[in-house]
C-alpha cells in the first residue's frame, strides 16, 4: 500500500559539521506520488533520504529532531525488518549495495530478513525479477552482470520486499543512457497502487515526465516545494553552470601535430571469447578534447587502459609520436590514492620523474590552485569526500605534466557544479596549449560529451561506429542505444 510521508520541522546535524545537514524541513507527500528532490552536493538530499529510511542513527552519530510520519510510524523507531518492509532505499552505486553473490540470493536476502517462508520467497523473486526484466538471469553471479543490470537487481531486491515507500538516491548517475532507460522502464512497469516514490537526482530530465512534485534543498533548507508545472524554472537554475559551454568552446583550438596513432588495434582478455576491441583505428592530435562514448562493456575503459600501457594489444599498432607521456585517471579515486597527505599525492609523480625541489613545489602549487585543493594540502586524501578524492586523483596525475591525459568516466557521481569545475579546468589547460596537450575521456553522459569535447568517438561492441564532431557522433550513439534497448526488449 502506498503511504503518505509527513515530515515536520526536521533537523539533522552531525558532530563533524558546522551547520546542520537538514534545517527545519517540513513537507507532506501524498500516497502513490513521485517526488523529485534536487539540490547541489552537500545540500542534504542523501541525509533527508536516509532520515526517511530511518537509517541515520544506525550508522553515524547524528542528532535528529522533528517528526517523520510514514503510515503512522517513525521508521527510525521500528525494528530493522519492519522498517525495511515499510521503506526501501536504492542508492547511487550498485556495488556498495549488493549484499550477496548471485541474482537469486540477492533478491532473497531482504525476504529472508523478513522471515518469509521459502515458497513465498521463490514466488516473490520471480515477480520482482520479471518486473525489472532480469528473470532470465536468476541463476547468474552478480559479477557477471553489467552495471545497469546490477542497479536493476538492487531495485528488484527492494521491490520484492513490497515497501510502501521507495527512496531512490541518484539511481541513474552511474548508468549509461541505455541502462538508465531500462531502469526507468522498470519504474514505469510498477503496478497501479505501487509505492510512494522520492527520487534525488542531478539528471532531472529523465524524471520530468514522471514526477508529480519537486522539492528543492539548499544548504539543508527546503527552499521550494512545487507541483509539476513549475519545473522549467528550477531546471534552468540547476543547470546554469553547464550553460557556460560557450566559454569552453570559445577557447577551442585547431588540432595540431599528431600525438598518438592507433592502427587496426585488436584486443581480447580471453582468446576463447570475442574481442573487446576490434580493428580500432584513430589518431589524436595536440589541442584535441576527445570524448569516448559507448554503452557499458563497449570497450571504452579497455581502450584507455591500452593507451596507458596497461594491456598489450594482440594485433595492430599503437604509436606515440614525439615525447608523448600518458597519464590515466580511473573512475574510482579510492584505488588511486596511496600517500599520507594531499601534498605528497601531488608531489609523487614529479618526485619520481626526478624533478628538482623547486619544480615539484611549483607543480604542486599550480595543481592545488587549479583544482581548488590548496586548503586540503595537509590532509589525508583518504579522509576527504568522494568529489574531493576524485579531484586529488586528477590533480595528482595532472602534476605528471603528461602530454596525453586519459580520464575514465571522470564525472560519474559528481554534481553539476563539481563536474563543470573539473572539466573546465582540464579543457582550459588543453585549449591554452597544455599540458596536457590532448584530453581523451570516456563518459556515458551525452551532455558532458557535448560541452567538453570537440571530437567524439563512439564504440559499439569494440568497434568504432562514429568518429566526428560531437553532434553527428552523438546522434549515431543514440541510434545505437535505441537498437540495443529494442533488442533487449525482444520482438
Amino acid at each position: 500500500m502506498p503511504a503518505t510521508i509527513e515530515c515536520r520541522r526536521l533537523r539533522c546535524s552531525f558532530p563533524t559539521g558546522d551547520a546542520p545537514a537538514l534545517n527545519d524541513v517540513t513537507f507532506s507527500l501524498p500516497p502513490g506520488s513521485v517526488t523529485l528532490l534536487i539540490g547541489q552536493s552537500g545540500a542534504g538530499k542523501s541525509t533527508l533520504l536516509h532520515a526517511l529510511a530511518g537509517l541515520l542513527a544506525d550508522n553515524v552519530q547524528s542528532l535528529r529532531q522533528g517528526e517523520i510520519d510514514i503510515a503512522s510510524h517513525d521508521p527510525q523507531r521500528l525494528p530493522a525488518a519492519r522498517r525495511a518492509a515499510l521503506v526501501g532505499l536504492v542508492q547511487q552505486s550498485p556495488d556498495t549495495q549488493i549484499c550477496t553473490t548471485t541474482v537469486e540470493s540477492e533478491v532473497a536476502f531482504g525476504l529472508e530478513n523478513l522471515a518469509i517462508e521459502s515458497s513465498e520467497i521463490d514466488r516473490r523473486i520471480d515477480e520482482a525479477l520479471r518486473l525489472v526484466g532480469l528473470q532470465e538471469l536468476r541463476q547468474r553471479y552478480v559479477t557477471q552482470l553489467s552495471g545497469g543490470q546490477r542497479q536493476r537487481l538492487v531495485l528488484a531486491a527492494v521491490l520484492a520486499m513490497r515497501p510502501d515507500i521507495l527512496l531512490l538516491d541518484e539511481p541513474l548517475s552511474q548508468l549509461d543512457p541505455g541502462a538508465a532507460a531500462q531502469f526507468l522502464a522498470a519504474i514505469d512497469n510498477l503496478p497501479e497502487g505501487g509505492p510512494t516514490i522520492v527520487v534525488a537526482e542531478h539528471r532531472t530530465v529523465a524524471w520530468r515526465e514522471r514526477a508529480d512534485q519537486l522539492l528543492v534543498l539548499k544548504e539543508g533548507r527546503l527552499t521550494a516545494n512545487l507541483p509539476r508545472d513549475d519545473y522549467a524554472a528550477w531546471d534552468a537554475e540547476l543547470w546554469q553552470l553547464r550553460a557556460q559551454d560557450s566559454s569552453v568552446r570559445s577557447k577551442q583550438t585547431a588540432p595540431g601535430a599528431s600525438l598518438v596513432e592507433v592502427d587496426r588495434l585488436t584486443f581480447t582478455f580471453d582468446r576463447r571469447r570475442s574481442a573487446v576491441l576490434n580493428d580500432v583505428s584513430f589518431r589524436a592530435h595536440a589541442g584535441e578534447r576527445i570524448a569516448l562514448l559507448g554503452a557499458n562493456g563497449s570497450g571504452k575503459s579497455t581502450l584507455l587502459a591500452i593507451l596507458a600501457g596497461l594491456h598489450e594489444p594482440q594485433s595492430g599498432t599503437l604509436k606515440f609520436l614525439g615525447a608523448a607521456a600518458v597519464g590515466l585517471v580511473r573512475q574510482n579515486p579510492d584505488t588511486q590514492l596511496f600517500c599520507r597527505t594531499v601534498r605528497d599525492e601531488l608531489a609523487f609523480a614529479p618526485r619520481h620523474a626526478g624533478c628538482s625541489r623547486d619544480e615539484i613545489g611549483e607543480r604542486v602549487r599550480d595543481a592545488a590552485e587549479r583544482f581548488e585543493l590548496t586548503r586540503l594540502l595537509a590532509r589525508s586524501p583518504l579522509l576527504l569526500s568522494q568529489g574531493e578524492r576524485l579531484r586529488v586523483a586528477v590533480a595528482a596525475t595532472f602534476t605528471m605534466r603528461a602530454s596525453i591525459l586519459l580520464l575514465d568516466e571522470p564525472t560519474t557521481g559528481q554534481d553539476p557544479r563539481h563536474e563543470a569545475q573539473l572539466m573546465h579546468t582540464l579543457t582550459d589547460a588543453v585549449a591554452t596549449g597544455g599540458p596536457p596537450q590532448t584530453l581523451i575521456f570516456s563518459t556515458h553522459d551525452l551532455q558532458v560529451a557535448r560541452l567538453y569535447s570537440d571530437r567524439v568517438i563512439v564504440l559499439d561492441e569494440g568497434r568504432i561506429i562514429a568518429d566526428s564532431a560531437p553532434e553527428p557522433a552523438i546522434e549515431a550513439f543514440e541510434a545505437c542505444l535505441r537498437g540495443m534497448v529494442a533488442r533487449e526488449r525482444g520482438p
Binding site: 529510511a53 537509517l55 544506525d58 550508522n59 525494528p79 530493522a80 525488518a81 519492519r82 522498517r83 525495511a84 518492509a85 532505499l89 542508492q91 556498495t96 549495495q97 549488493i98 549484499c99 550477496t100 553473490t101 548471485t102 540470493s105 532473497a108 536476502f109 531482504g110 525476504l111 529472508e112 530478513n113 523478513l114 522471515a115 518469509i116 517462508e117 521459502s118 520467497i121 521463490d122 523473486i125 531486491a157 527492494v158 520486499m161 596507458a308 600501457g309 596497461l310 598489450e312 600518458v326 597519464g327 590515466l328 580511473r330 574510482n332 579510492d334 584505488t335 588511486q336 596511496f338 599520507r340 609523487f348 609523480a349 619520481h352 620523474a353 583518504l382 595528482a396 596525475t397 605528471m400
Partner: protein
C-alpha cells in the same frame, strides 16, 4: 599475475557446488582432527592427499594452479628447512653438516648442522597446515557465502559471527581487485608502465607495503557501505530469519555425515583406550 581475475575463473563442478555445506564443514573438521591424531609424516602426507581430493573437481586457470602448488611446496620447504637448521631438542642427530665445529678467537662454535629430527618435526607441522589449507580452500572455492552462512547458522554458530565470517570470505576477491588497481595506479604515476618491468625485491616490497594503508581504508569504507546496505534491507542479527533455498541433506550426504562422525567417535574411543 592478477589474482582477482584468476579467482573469478575458478569453476567448481556443479555436483561439488550442490553438496550440502554442513557436510563440507564436517569434512574440514575431520581433516583437522586427523591432523591432531596423526603424528607420522607419511600419514600426514596421506591426509594431505585426501584433503586435496575435492580440489580435483574444481577447474583452475593453469597459472593459478601452478601458483597454488608453488605456495604449498614453499610452506613445506621453508618449515622443513628452518626446523632442520634450528631444531633445539636434545635428541638431534645431524643428517648432514653445513659448517663443521670450529674455534675462533678462543671460543668454540658448534657449527651449522641439518638435523633429522628437526626436518621431521618441520615436515609434520607444515603438512598439518597444508592439509587444513587444502580442505578449507576446497570448501571456500566451491560454496557460495550465502549457503555457507546458512550452514553455519544451522550448526548453531551465532548469526553475527556467521555473517562476519562469510562476508570476510566474500571480500577477498574484492580486496585483491583493489590491490591490483592500486598497484596499477602506482605504476602509472611512477611512469613504469607495461609488462615485464624489473624492480629490486626490497623496493618492490616497500611499494607493496605502502599500498596497505589505502587498501585498509578502502576495506573499511566498503565494510561500512555493506553494513549500511544490509541494515537498509532489514538485516538484524538478533532477529530470526529464514534461508532460501532451505538446506536439505540428501540421503548419501546423511550417510557421509554419519560416517565422518563415526570416524570421530572411533578415534576418540581408540585414544582413550590407548591412554
Amino acid at each position: 599475475m592478477n589474482w582477482s581475475h584468476a579467482l573469478r575463473q575458478v569453476e567448481p563442478r556443479p555436483w561439488l557446488v550442490r553438496v550440502d555445506p554442513r557436510l563440507k564443514l564436517l569434512w574440514v573438521a575431520t581433516i583437522s582432527i586427523g591432523c591432531i591424531w596423526f603424528d607420522s609424516v607419511a600419514m600426514l602426507a596421506a591426509l594431505c592427499l585426501v584433503a586435496a581430493c575435492p580440489l580435483f573437481a574444481i577447474r583452475f586457470p593453469w597459472r593459478a594452479a601452478a601458483a597454488y602448488a608453488f605456495l604449498v611446496l614453499l610452506v613445506i620447504w621453508s618449515t622443513v628447512s628452518s626446523q632442520g637448521l634450528f631444531y633445539f631438542d636434545t635428541s638431534r642427530p645431524p643428517l648432514f653438516t653445513i659448517v663443521p665445529a670450529f674455534t675462533w678467537l678462543g671460543r668454540n662454535y658448534s657449527g651449522l648442522h641439518f638435523y633429522t629430527e628437526g626436518a621431521r618435526y618441520g615436515a609434520g607441522q607444515s603438512l598439518r597446515f597444508v592439509a587444513n589449507l587444502l580442505a578449507g580452500s576446497s570448501v571456500a572455492l566451491s560454496t557460495s557465502p550465502e549457503r555457507l552462512m546458512a550452514a553455519l547458522v544451522r550448526l548453531r554458530i551465532p548469526t553475527p559471527l556467521s555473517y562476519m565470517g562469510t562476508a570476510a570470505l566474500r571480500s577477498i576477491p574484492l580486496a585483491l581487485e583493489e590491490w591490483a588497481a592500486l598497484r596499477q595506479a602506482y605504476q602509472l604515476r611512477t611512469g613504469r608502465r607495461g609488462v615485464g618491468r624489473f624492480q629490486l625485491p626490497r623496493i618492490r616490497l616497500l611499494e607493496e607495503l605502502r599500498l596497505l594503508e589505502p587498501l585498509l581504508a578502502n576495506t573499511l569504507r566498503r565494510a561500512s557501505a555493506l553494513a549500511f546496505a544490509v541494515q537498509a534491507r532489514g538485516f538484524d542479527p538478533r532477529q530470526p530469519r529464514t534461508h532460501f533455498p532451505p538446506l536439505r541433506m540428501r540421503a548419501w550426504e546423511k550417510v557421509a555425515c554419519a560416517l565422518l562422525v563415526g570416524l570421530w567417535i572411533a578415534a576418540l574411543t581408540f585414544s582413550l583406550a590407548k591412554s
